[in-house]
C-alpha cells in the first residue's frame, strides 16, 4: 500500500484532510452511484431485520449497559480474560501501541519458521498496519475476505468496514482479478465474466490453495468472554473458519475494549450485530474457540491485547463510549456524509461517523482535527447504533477539543478571530447597530440579486460552498425603532 504511514499509532493513509479528500470523492460520479446503491440496499435490510424484534430498544439498552459497565472495570475483565485464556492453553501478549503489536506478531510468525500467513479481515490489524510491518520482515500476509482480496490485489484501500470494496463495481473487480491474481497465486480462470457468482468462484479457487498450505493465521476478534476465555469471530464467507481451523498456529489481535464479562453476554451481541451489520437474522458463520483443542484446529493460540490509544480514549469520560463500538458499520450506511464521500475521505481504516469519532481519539485530536467536523450532526448514526453510542455528542465534544488544541498554537484561527470579533460587537447595542449598518451597506455592494455568492478575504471559505442571502436594507432593530414611537 503506497503512501501509508502511521501517525499516533493509527495507520494514516496519506490522505489530505477530510474537506479536500471529500471534494474529489464527491466529484467522482461512479463512486457516488456505487455508494448510493450499496448504502441504500443495506439500510433497508437493516431496518427490516431490526424491526422484526419488537424489543430492539431493550436489546440496545442492554448492550450499551454491558459495554459501559465493562469499560468502567476494564482492567478487571482483561486480567480475568488473561487467566481464562492461559488456563485453556492460549498465550496472552500485551501491546501498548501499534509498533509493539507488530513486533509481537512478527516474532511469533518468525518463530514458526514460516514466511506466509493467511488473514481474516480484521480492523485492528488494519489500524496498526500489520501487513506492511510483516512485509518489511519478509512475511507475506494474504487477505482472505473477498472484498479485502479485491482491495489487496488492487493495492487499494478499504472504504467500508463491512464491505471494504463497496467503491468497486463488478466490471472493475473482473479486471483486477484478471490482471493481478496471477501475481499472488493461482490466476483467474480464462473467460472470467463480471457475474458475481463467477467472481466469487474465482476467489474460492484462488484462495483454496493458500488455506490448504499456510501454517499460520492472523485474525481479529469480535468478542472475547472473560469468564471462559472464549473468542468469537463473526463472518459470512467461510474464510474465517478456514483461517481459524486449518493452520497450526493462530495469532489473534484484539483491541482491549472487545472483552465481554461473560460468555452469556454474547446472547445480546449475537442478536444485535448481524441484524445491524448485514441486515440478516444471523450471519452465515460464527466461530468460537476457547484455547486449543487436541486434534481439532490450531495447536498454538496467541492472543495479542492491543491498547494503541484505547486507554487515552477511556480517559475521556465523554469519548469513552466510543469504545463500545462493535464495528457493525450501521452508522456508515445511514450517514448522509458517508453516502456522498465514501470511506477513503476519512483517511483511516475507520470511516464514517464512527471513524470521525474513533480516529481522532486513537491517533490524537490534533492529528485528525478535521474529522470531528465531517458530519452534519443529523443524529441518524446514534439512532442506528446497536450499542447506543451518542456519536453526535462525541463529535461536538471533539470539535471543542480540536478548537482548544488549535488555540494552543501561536497563530489564532479564523474561527477564534471571528468569535472574538463577535463578542466585541455584541457587547454593546451601539456597536451592534453600527456593525449592522455597515453590514447592510457592505452586502448591498457585494450581493447580486439578493444573494451573496462570494464573501471577501478569508470569509470565502464559508461562501465557497454556501449562498448567503443578503441582509435586508433595514435591520429588525431599525424597523422597531421606526414603527414603534418611543412614547408608545
Amino acid at each position: 500500500m503506497s503512501g501509508t504511514h502511521t501517525s499516533g499509532g493509527v495507520v494514516w493513509l496519506g490522505s489530505p484532510a477530510f474537506p479536500e479528500a471529500a471534494r474529489s470523492a464527491v466529484a467522482d460520479t461512479r463512486l457516488r452511484t456505487n455508494l448510493r446503491k450499496a448504502t441504500g440496499t443495506i439500510r433497508d435490510k437493516r431496518v427490516a431485520a431490526a424491526a422484526e424484534l419488537d424489543d430492539w430498544e431493550e436489546l440496545r439498552t442492554a448492550a450499551a449497559a454491558i459495554k459501559r459497565a465493562t469499560l468502567r472495570h476494564l482492567d478487571h475483565h482483561l486480567l480475568r480474560l488473561e487467566e481464562s485464556v492461559t488456563a485453556v492453553g492460549g498465550t496472552v501478549h500485551w501491546a501498548a501501541d501499534a509498533a509493539e503489536a507488530n513486533r509481537i506478531v512478527t516474532r511469533l510468525v518468525r518463530a514458526t519458521g514460516e514466511t506466509e500467513v493467511v488473514k481474516v479481515k480484521s480492523m485492528a490489524t488494519q489500524e496498526i498496519g500489520l501487513n506492511e510491518a510483516l512485509a518489511a520482515a519478509g512475511i507475506t500476509a494474504y487477505e482472505t475476505d473477498l472484498a479485502e482480496l479485491i482491495v489487496q490485489l488492487d493495492d487499494d484501500r478499504p472504504s467500508h468496514i463491512l464491505v471494504p470494496a463497496i467503491h468497486r463495481g463488478r466490471a472493475e473487480i473482473r479486471e483486477i482479478f484478471r490482471e493481478r491474481m496471477g501475481e499472488w497465486g493461482k490466476p483467474a480462470p480464462e473467460g472470467l465474466t463480471d457475474d458475481p457468482r463467477q467472481l466469487a468462484e474465482a476467489a474460492r479457487s484462488h484462495l483454496r490453495e493458500k488455506f490448504l498450505n499456510t501454517k499460520v493465521a492472523v485474525s481479529g476478534a469480535n468478542f472475547a468472554a472473560a469468564d471462559t476465555g472464549t473468542v468469537a469471530v463473526v463472518e459470512s464467507e467461510g474464510n474465517g473458519r478456514m483461517c481459524l481451523t486449518l493452520p497450526e498456529t493462530l495469532i489473534t489481535v484484539m483491541g482491549i475494549e472487545k472483552v465481554l464479562p461473560s460468555f452469556a453476554d454474547l446472547e445480546v451481541f449475537l442478536q444485535l450485530l448481524p441484524r445491524s451489520s448485514t441486515g440478516e437474522r444471523m450471519n452465515p458463520y460464527t466461530s468460537m474457540w476457547t484455547g486449543t483443542v487436541p486434534g481439532d484446529g490450531p495447536r498454538a493460540f496467541h492472543l495479542v491485547l492491543l491498547d494503541n490509544g484505547r486507554t487515552a480514549t477511556l480517559r475521556d469520560t465523554v469519548g469513552r463510549q466510543t469504545l463500545g463500538c462493535i464495528r457493525c458499520s450501521a452508522c456508515l450506511n445511514v450517514c448522509p456524509v458517508y453516502e456522498r464521500t465514501g470511506g477513503h475521505a476519512y483517511g483511516s481504516p475507520y470511516p464514517g461517523p464512527i471513524g470521525a469519532v474513533l480516529t481522532p481519539q486513537l491517533a490524537g485530536v490534533e492529528r485528525a482535527a478535521s474529522l470531528p467536523f465531517a458530519s452534519t450532526l443529523c443524529g441518524a448514526c446514534y439512532d442506528a447504533c446497536p450499542v447506543k453510542i451518542d456519536i453526535p455528542e462525541v463529535l461536538v465534544h471533539l470539535r471543542a477539543r480540536a478548537v482548544d488544541a488549535a488555540r494552543g498554537g501561536s497563530l489564532p484561527t479564523p474561527e477564534s478571530l471571528a468569535m472574538k470579533a463577535a463578542a466585541l460587537t455584541l457587547a454593546t447595542p451601539r456597536r451592534l447597530s453600527f456593525a449592522q449598518r455597515a453590514g447592510a451597506l457592505g452586502s448591498r455592494l457585494l450581493a447580486r440579486r439578493g444573494v451573496l455568492r462570494r464573501l471577501p478575504g478569508p470569509l470565502h471559505r464559508w461562501s465557497d460552498t454556501r449562498d448567503t442571502p443578503a441582509p435586508p436594507r433595514e435591520t429588525f432593530r431599525a424597523w422597531w425603532r421606526r414603527t414603534r414611537p418611543e412614547n408608545q
Binding site: R170, I173, P196, F211, E237, S262, T311
Partner: protein, 220 residues
C-alpha cells in the same frame, strides 16, 4: 523494567479515576429487559425449518432419518461422503450411494478437500435465526470436516432446536469449539449482490428428525 502489561493496566487505572474505588462490576445491575425468546409461541420445529430455508438451505422434516438422508443424497449425488465418528448408525441408509469416508485415522487436508460431501449431526439449532451449531461432538467430528467438502448434510433432532439465541447459548459448552452455521457460505461483497458459496460448503441440506409419537422428556 516495566512490562507493557503493567503499562496498560496502569494507564487503565489512571483513566478510570471517575470510577469510585469501591465500585465493583455487577452483572446483576445491568437491565436485561429484552425477550428471552422471539419465537412468539410458534412451533419451534416449523419456525426453524422456515428460517433455515430463508437462507436457501434445503430443509426436510421426517420421522425416518435413513429415508430422508437417502433422498437428499440421491438428489445431490456427491461422489464421496465423510461420516464422522459417532454418527448414529440407525440413521444411515443401507449401503449404496456415495463412497463413505471415515476420519479415522484423521484424513489429510488434501483428502478433506477432495471429499465431495460430509454428513453430520449438530449440537443445537436455533429456531428464530435458522442456525445450526456444531460443537465437534459425536457425529460431527473436528471442525475441518464440515468446512472443506462442498456439500454439507446436517441432521437435527427436533429436541435439539432451541427457541432463540439466549437458550442456545445456555445449552452449549463454551469449552468446545463452536461453529454457528446459518445457511450456506455467502458473500455480498460484489455490489451487495448475495452469492451463495465462497469458501465454505456451497450446498447445505438439513434433515429434521421428529419423534413418531411425542416423547416427553426425551434428552436432546
Amino acid at each position: 523494567m516495566t512490562t507493557s502489561r503493567e503499562t496498560i493496566l496502569a494507564r487503565i487505572g489512571s483513566a478510570l479515576t471517575d470510577v469510585p474505588k469501591t465500585e465493583r462490576y455487577d452483572a446483576a445491575a445491568i437491565s436485561r429487559d429484552y425477550r428471552a425468546s422471539h419465537a412468539g409461541g410458534h412451533d419451534v420445529t416449523a419456525l426453524f425449518a422456515e428460517r433455515a430455508a430463508d437462507y436457501r438451505a434445503t430443509v426436510t422434516r421426517t420421522v425416518h432419518a435413513p429415508t430422508a438422508i437417502a433422498a437428499a443424497l440421491a438428489e445431490r449425488v456427491p461422489a464421496s461422503l465423510i461420516i464422522p465418528d459417532g454418527f448414529p448408525a440407525q440413521w444411515l441408509p443401507d449401503e449404496g450411494g456415495p463412497r463413505r469416508l471415515a476420519d479415522r485415522p484423521p484424513l489429510s487436508v488434501r483428502e478433506l478437500d477432495a471429499a465431495a460431501g460430509v454428513l453430520t449431526t449438530c449440537a443445537v439449532a436455533i429456531a428464530v435465526t435458522g442456525t445450526l451449531v456444531l460443537d465437534a461432538g459425536p457425529g460431527q467430528g473436528r471442525r475441518a470436516l464440515s468446512l472443506l467438502p462442498d456439500y454439507h448434510l446436517c441432521v437435527v433432532r427436533a429436541a435439539q432446536i432451541a427457541e432463540d439465541v439466549p437458550e442456545a447459548l445456555r445449552r452449549l459448552n463454551p469449552r468446545r469449539p463452536l461453529t454457528f452455521i446459518s445457511g450456506p457460505s455467502a458473500t455480498s461483497d460484489i455490489e451487495l449482490e448475495r452469492v451463495e458459496g465462497v469458501h465454505g460448503p456451497r450446498t447445505l441440506d438439513i434433515v429434521i428428525v421428529e419423534p413418531t409419537t411425542p416423547a416427553p422428556g426425551e434428552a436432546a
